[in-house]
Symmetry: none
Subunit: 225 residues, 2 copies
DNA sequence: TCAGCTTTTTTACATGAATTTACATGTATA
DNA sequence: TATACATGTAAATTCATGTAAAAAAGCTGA
């Protein structure tokens, strides 16, 4: 029973959609303006968000843009019928899908399920230990060991290392790192990945620049054996 | 460079889309009927499939249905404009997305990327070591060794050498070098490849001009052992 | 609630890499 | 041989990254 947040100023439409969604065994929360939407989306952990573009005060794009700084929850946008530009802008801004209004609830559900299928098909490879070079990563306890010593990492540093380790010997681009390790989209002039990486390298000691290589213009790569 | 299979009976549209996709650095294969599509999809390992619904003989739905018995490659369907039912059926049958025809190539690319972002979990590197002449290249750690000595290269220099090494004994043209090693199109008066090559040769020492040969008007070639 | 911690993000600037510019040199073509 | 054009490379410029430090956001326990 996935958990949906519905952000639309049209109260009646909301009720209607919510009812249909609930009949399809979704759990639905509604809010009717952009600001509340933002707060609600940040406050709870939804499986997906349905977001109307046309809203007074804070429109859907602004909400999406702001949201993407904090969370990577899939977003399905409701746009004015046949407005290509909106759709494209939305997708490029990181929406996961759009639907022209007025929309067919059955299609909404189909799309929602499609999105959820994609996003929730989180690879269930629950590995016990990842060993790379002199690094051991224990996902179950979120602990990292380097050269037989416990490596005290912050949460983000650990995530970063885990993502890199799951892709040893391959460049992982910053977009991916940001989404997977920090759970937010990479924005322009966003240096947080570089920052965390710098910290991580400091903790890894001298040959950390070899161990974690910079691939300029792309991202980073953990050296494989 | 993701690998796309395009299945559509409209040859002209195919060409057009393929061109656009290639300009966005996708690799595209085309077939123009459902059966060939099936076979091709099963024969090669594509990153995504673009599938037209309306085709003579074997329509898109049949292809999708059959395909899903064998492979889980993400599928983006092209449907007739505004045909709700098609879209719903497609999504319910396991398509990953649809796009109404005629479609905007830019939107197609945006959607493709969105799908790939989801589904692509970095494939493991295939080759361990490339050995050519006195050069050893270790893609997993992005290290190059020349005459048993570590060769300190910048990121671009390494990329360049790797691309050349993967094509030993063959001329690699500058367009390819630029796209594969620097990740950008070669533009007019663009000397960056020559520049990096110059640096690379300097690091390789005296016989570097023999080792990496200039093929005037074409590109460069790493001499095969 | 708050003060005092930790973590994360942003800012700022130094450093080094990549690209562009410029010119010398070499090579094809008429 | 004269001309155009491609390449080699030093130097200037532009741009990405590394990282310290400041600011902001989270936590925690009174």
């Amino acid at each position: 029973m996935p958990n949906i947040l519905l952000i639309d100023d049209d109260v009646e439409l909301c009720e209607m959609l919510a009812e249909y969604l609930e009949s399809e065994s979704f759990t639905v929360n509604m809010v009717h303006d952009g600001h509340s939407g933002m707060n609600q989306a940040k406050a709870e952990n939804y499986d997906a968000i349905i977001l109307d573009v046309m809203m007074p005060e804070m429109d859907g794009f602004s909400v999406l843009k702001e949201l993407r700084k904090y969370i990577a929850t899939p977003v399905l946008m409701l746009t004015a019928k046949g407005d290509d530009v909106d759709r494209i802008v939305g997708l490029e801004m990181g929406a996961d899908d759009y639907l022209p209004k007025p929309c067919n609830p059955r299609e909404l559900v189909a799309r929602l399920k499609a999105i959820l299928r994609r996003t929730q098909t989180a690879p269930p490879k629950t590995v016990d230990v990842i060993k790379v070079n002199d690094i051991e990563i224990h996902p179950a306890s979120r602990k990292a060991i380097y050269q037989s010593e416990n490596l005290p990492l912050t949460s983000s540093e650990y995530n970063l290392l885990e993502v890199l380790a799951m892709n040893v010997g391959t460049v992982v681009d910053k977009e991916t790192l940001s989404e997977q390790a920090l759970g937010k989209k990479l924005t322009e002039y966003d240096r947080s990945i570089d920052m965390h990486l710098s910290k991580l390298r400091q903790k890894l000691g001298d040959d950390s620049q070899e161990l974690i290589q910079t691939v300029r213009g792309k991202g980073y790569q953990l050296s494989g054996g």
